[in-house]
């Protein structure tokens, strides 16, 4: 990727993060000394979650050779939400900060791993709409489990479980931020190490084999890293859809079609954009008297965009 494109991408990220930092319930203004650390942690969490989801979307689109692939559409996020909601229910009404900070992402990772392993098993030889159909099945099952858990837990806990259906970026404590940040950096780096192989895999397993790609190893790396990234994103912020779908498409259109550039750029730009989006949600508080969950805002924009991609794919 050229220096000019790298600079343009860096500029997008910086502008998005500065914008996010300035967005508050009282409009665009620098945060005061009392709220700066809270605001910063929320912006950082938005960056982590957006980066994790976008990098995962880019990797899944390349691995499955399906432009509609996205952790939300394919049910990986649903699997993570199922894991996290079960964990919340098992933990009871008064969980410790450590249990929430480390346990929720962990439970999310387990749920995402189960969903993505099932997905890859089902679609290993399917390059068409079957992939999305498997995602629909996984999502339906996951949402059903979340609904059952909500019905069974005490009312005090069930309200908190709605975050697994429509996510929102909150104010994380230090432990949650640290765990999410470390796992996300590790997951994105793991995906970047196989990004060259993913570029070749877009041409099919046989071509990849001819060019010396260890296809099984790449699949395992992507499934494990994607599960870790989505598990952490969902475990900390609930289900936020379509970021992982749209950001890689935008990066391919604006910057490069080479996965070696698409993966890191999707992570950075996706992180910046979700933070900025979350900033807009905070601005909404001043106008509407209530914050729109960023997951809902993403779905409102993402669903029509997904429909457009679906139409174009046909």
């Amino acid at each position: 990727m050229s220096l000019r494109l790298s600079a343009a991408a860096a500029l997008v990220v910086v502008v998005a993060l500065v914008f996010a930092l300035l967005c508050g319930p009282n409009g665009l203004a620098p945060p005061d000394s009392a709220t700066v650390s809270l605001r910063l942690s929320r912006v950082m969490l938005g960056f982590i979650v957006g980066g994790a989801l976008s990098a995962t979307g880019a990797a899944l689109q390349a691995l499955l050779r399906n432009p509609l692939a996205d952790p939300y559409v394919l049910g990986v996020s649903g699997g993570a939400a199922m894991g996290a909601s079960l964990f919340t229910a098992l933990l009871g009404a008064a969980p410790s900060a450590l249990a929430l900070g480390a346990g929720l992402p962990g439970a999310g990772v387990v749920g995402a791993l189960a969903a993505s392993a099932l997905l890859v098993l089902f679609v290993a030889h399917d390059k068409g709409e079957g992939t999305v159909l498997v995602g629909i099945v996984l999502n339906a099952f996951s949402w059903a489990v979340v609904a059952v858990v909500r019905a069974l837990v005490p009312a005090s806990s069930s309200a908190g479980l709605s975050v697994w259906l429509i996510g929102s970026i909150g104010y994380p404590d230090d432990v949650a931020l640290l765990v999410a940040g470390a796992i996300t950096v590790g997951g994105v780096l793991a995906l970047v190490t196989v990004s060259g192989s993913l570029s070749i895999l877009r041409g099919g397993d046989e071509e990849a084999l001819r060019l010396g790609v260890d296809v099984t190893r790449v699949r395992v790396v992507v499934v494990v890293a994607a599960s870790a990234l989505v598990g952490v994103a969902v475990g900390t912020s609930g289900v936020i859809g379509f970021v992982g779908l749209l950001v890689p498409h935008a990066v391919r259109r604006l910057f490069s079609v080479d996965e070696r550039a698409v993966l890191p750029l999707s992570a950075l730009i996706g992180g910046g954009l979700l933070s900025a989006f979350d900033g807009v949600a905070r601005l909404g508080f001043g106008l509407l008297g209530s914050e729109i969950p960023v997951g809902a805002a993403c779905a409102l924009l993402g669903a029509p965009a997904f429909a457009f991609l679906l139409w174009r794919a046909r």
Binding site: G196, I200, R210, L211, G212, R252, V257, D258
Partner: protein, 248 residues
């Protein structure tokens, strides 16, 4: 030396013994004769149900994918259209990935190597164009250039590289393959008499999954049957029909 022994792939291919030495090896045969299956076994991308493919006595099946790809550069019959968004340069450079690493970018040396192969196949002016912007014949040449770019591979395997090429492009590719045949073991499948004759080297004719013709060109064509001026090749009285005459 690449050696196949007692290779069997279902009903598609049966080869009791075949040794391939540096030089050009031209594979001919009707559709379904087993050409692509043989080439895939030689390339190590298809594991035979029985038998072994050995390169200098090392079993291709026991090598890692990258180790094998460094030794055997190969291209299938129908490369994916998913690469159409890549530039010609990027597509050709993929052929260097087994040696340089799949994540490696293009350094000056690699860039020069890619440019040299593109020039050899008449693609110098298209180096920075996307494959989607090229004609079918130009795209074909870009894919073939991907397999010719690695000078250090011992074996080069190309399945029907001449499909859809015009006379000039065919001539450029014949020259490029003959040049590779001076140092490498080149295995290439063709359909046309003139192309086989222009390439020269060893002719292997397949019929029903077995090698029924094995000899040096051009004599092998005479031995194989009434080929000159005819599209038919007859072996031991059986119609093999492996070559098609190019219309004049």
């Amino acid at each position: 030396m690449l050696r196949l022994s007692d290779v069997e792939v279902g009903e598609r291919l049966r080869v009791s013994a075949l040794s391939l030495h540096p030089g050009l090896n031209v594979i001919v045969g009707m559709n379904g004769a087993g050409k692509s299956t043989l080439l895939d076994v030689i390339a190590g991308v298809l594991q035979p149900a029985r038998g072994r493919a050995l390169l200098d006595d090392n079993d291709l099946a026991c090598m890692s994918p990258r180790q094998r790809a460094r030794l055997v550069a190969s291209l299938g019959q129908e490369p994916s259209s998913s690469f159409h968004e890549l530039s010609v340069q990027a597509r050709i450079a993929q052929g260097l990935a087994p040696r340089r690493g799949h994540n490696a970018g293009l350094d000056d040396e690699a860039r020069q190597r890619v440019a040299a192969v593109a020039d050899e196949l008449g693609l110098a002016s298209s180096l920075h164009r996307r494959l989607a912007q090229l004609s079918g014949g130009e795209r074909r040449r870009a894919h073939v250039a991907r397999v010719l770019v690695d000078e250090q591979a011992q074996v080069i395997v190309v399945d029907e590289p001449f499909a859809g090429l015009d006379r000039l492009a065919t001539s450029l590719l014949v020259t490029a393959l003959r040049r590779r045949g001076e140092r490498h073991t080149v295995v290439v499948s063709v359909h046309e008499v003139q192309t086989a004759l222009a390439l020269g080297g060893r002719l292997l004719g397949l019929h029903g999954g077995s090698i029924v013709v094995d000899g040096l060109l051009p004599q092998a064509l005479h031995e194989a049957g009434p080929v000159w001026g005819d599209v038919r090749v007859v072996v031991d009285g059986d119609y093999v029909g492996v070559l098609q005459k190019r219309p004049d």
